[in-house]
């Protein structure tokens, strides 16, 4: 007769192990193999790899300091000395774009992390406990959605004040409803699956059911949404920068570069063309990778969106 194994490890340890296992499982051979066969995922990955590497290796790729002004050489067209030309203060545009990538990717990653860190727990609580807690959380999410995402970020930044931290907070908060909604929907489905019911019938505590069964199964859609949100977040943050409400000069940030460069659009279009191209490529990279991840993690959805 088979002995019933009793797992005596503390809940949080099992939970960590399970989560780690889930992530490892997701990144395991099957998914990676599917990703490698997915042209959209590969294209996105390559674009992002190039952007990340060029941001990290910026000092090796350009001899210029991104904030070094050379007022004798303003608004130069692309040349051998300055591959992308110079901006209105004579700063090397390539250097500013390379260093600016660090900031853009950093803002995107931290803002999405804020959205995940707050949105996922809200979605879990909402979907798992339902009832009045769910009602309250969902009404708050409705309220945030009623502002619309860009307007919410814009309003928050205008009240908190400009600057790196406030931009990240504002843009991150604006992504919370997306994750809360998504996770709530997955949890509502997962909690009805028979093995979760079985686990409850065996007397498992709420917390244990949550960490061991519900959370690991809700991970995949969150990964897809987080990737796609990186693109959306970068667009929003750069939009704030464009309006002059983001990261402040002289720090190189793509959106702010566009916003300041647009006054020189008649004399030198490069000042607006290249930072915008950089934003476009980064966002496209995340959109491609996100679509590829969705196909790879959920083959049933293939080609439907």
């Amino acid at each position: 007769m088979a002995r019933l194994e009793v797992d005596a490890r503390p809940g949080w340890l099992t939970a960590l192990g399970r989560l780690g296992g889930a992530v490892a499982g997701l990144l395991g051979s099957e998914v990676v193999r599917r990703l490698r066969r997915n042209p959209s995922a590969v294209a996105g990955f390559v674009i992002l790899l190039v952007l990340v590497l060029s941001a990290i290796l910026a000092p090796l790729l350009t001899p210029y300091d991104p904030t070094q002004q050379q007022l004798a050489q303003v608004l130069q067209h692309p040349s051998l000395k300055h591959p992308l030309g110079t901006d209105q203060l004579g700063r090397d545009l390539l250097a500013r774009i390379l260093y600016g990538g660090r900031l853009t990717l950093f803002i995107g990653a931290i803002a999405v992390a804020v959205g995940v860190a707050l949105g996922v727990p809200l979605g879990i609580v909402s979907g798992f406990y339902r009832g009045s807690v769910d009602m309250v959380i969902q009404r708050v999410m409705d309220l945030m959605l009623a502002f619309t995402s860009f307007l919410l970020a814009l309003t928050l930044v205008s009240l908190l004040g400009v600057g790196l931290t406030n931009v990240i907070v504002a843009v991150g908060i604006a992504t919370i409803p997306r994750f809360a909604r998504l996770v709530r929907a997955s949890v509502l489905t997962i909690r009805e699956i028979s093995y979760v019911e079985a686990s409850r019938a065996l007397g498992a505590a709420d917390r244990r059911v949550l960490w061991r069964h519900v959370l690991p199964n809700a991970v995949a859609p969150v990964i897809v949404q987080a990737t796609l949100s990186m693109g959306a977040t970068i667009l929003t943050a750069a939009g704030l920068g464009f309006l002059g409400l983001g990261v402040q000069p002289p720090t190189p940030e793509w959106g702010a570069m566009l916003g300041q460069g647009r006054n020189y659009i008649f004399s030198n279009p490069s000042v607006t063309t290249f930072p915008g191209l950089a934003i476009f490529l980064a966002v496209m990279g995340f959109n491609l990778l996100g679509d590829g991840l969705r196909d790879a993690l959920d083959p049933q959805l293939r080609g439907t969106r």
Binding site: F147, T148, L151, P269, R305
Partner: protein, 309 residues
């Protein structure tokens, strides 16, 4: 009919409640978040006495509950307060700009639907073909393109190089062409994408196969049978992404110097004109809520299975 009116009233109450909550939230945000509006308006060099004067002018020296009561009472009468920058009523400031934003948003939305819908349907009807691939590329382009950058690129091409269209302002009918195309780009992509996926779903259904088996022409099956049934989710998404369109309008108006609410909002933020910012946020949320109400009402016309009441 009474069923429909009952539904309409219910939904209108919903819109009023939403706007009320948005108003209370923005009211509290302005007053609770760090930063003293009175001191900011007064400037760094102002004395404490000057700051106190501005504070009482704005009514910020009253208790929060009293302020909230006055604010909500004014709001119910359509009074959004006095602009800190121009000293004229916020309501009239906004009403002067509202038509520009409304025209820009509606023209862009219509443009997005008449371009996006056929593109998505075409892609779905020839899934896997070169046309499908081209639409997918266009969609990717549209959803990844920063609206402010697209606007600037269009200005460089059509205003500076070709000199066909004006780069800024709202004078003459040609002035709306570039802003509308700029703002529509994202929505075109979004609508094409959802149309494609919804159509693919419908084209797999039995009744489509039946229609084909009966010998109905392919074009009729696609546009009459399939598109009609694919519409409900598409219409919902069009309503929801109107929020992104409004966000895009703020940026587009800034790029093209379009004298709408978006530019007023950005200018008000820079001049710390909190009453105007507050009023604009409420009006933007109202526009979004009303468009989604209209979309839901359209549902009945589109989807015969849905009946109100």
């Amino acid at each position: 009919m009474s069923g429909f009116f009952g539904y309409l009233v219910q939904r209108l109450v919903g819109v009023v409640v939403t706007i009320l909550f948005v108003a209370i939230t923005i009211f509290l945000m302005v007053r609770i978040l760090p930063g003293d509006p009175a001191r900011v308006i007064a400037g760094v060099l102002a004395t404490d006495q000057e700051v106190a004067q501005i504070r009482s002018q704005l009514g910020l020296d009253k208790p929060l509950w009293t302020q909230a009561g006055i604010f909500l009472d004014d709001l119910a009468h359509g009074n959004l307060g006095i602009s800190a920058r121009t000293s004229s009523p916020v309501t009239s400031e906004i009403m002067a700009r509202l038509p520009y934003t409304a025209v820009l948003a509606v023209v862009s939305l219509v443009l997005a639907v008449i371009v996006g819908l056929p593109l998505g349907a075409l892609a779905a009807s020839r899934a896997g073909s070169l046309a499908d691939l081209a639409v997918s590329a266009l969609v990717l382009f549209g959803i990844s393109m920063p609206v402010y950058w697209l606007g600037l690129m269009l200005i460089i091409l059509f205003s500076i190089k070709l000199r066909w269209l004006p780069a800024a302002g709202a004078a003459g009918p040609l002035a709306i062409v570039l802003p509308a195309f700029t703002l529509a780009a994202f929505s075109v992509a979004f609508i094409a994408r959802i149309t494609r996926s919804s159509m693919l779903e419908v084209l797999r259904q039995d009744y489509v196969r039946t229609a084909r088996a009966k010998g109905t022409r392919a074009r009729t099956v696609l546009w009459r049978h399939a598109l009609r049934n694919a519409l409900p989710p598409i219409v919902t998404v069009i309503g929801l992404q109107f929020g992104d369109l409004l966000g895009g309008a703020i940026l587009t108006e800034t790029v093209f110097g379009w004298p709408g609410m978006g530019r007023l909002l950005v200018n008000s933020i820079f001049s710390r004109d909190y009453p105007t910012v507050q009023g604009l946020v409420i009006v933007f949320a109202l526009m979004y809520a009303l468009v989604n109400l209209i979309v839901d009402l359209l549902y009945e016309r589109i989807d015969p299975r849905v009946r109100y009441g």
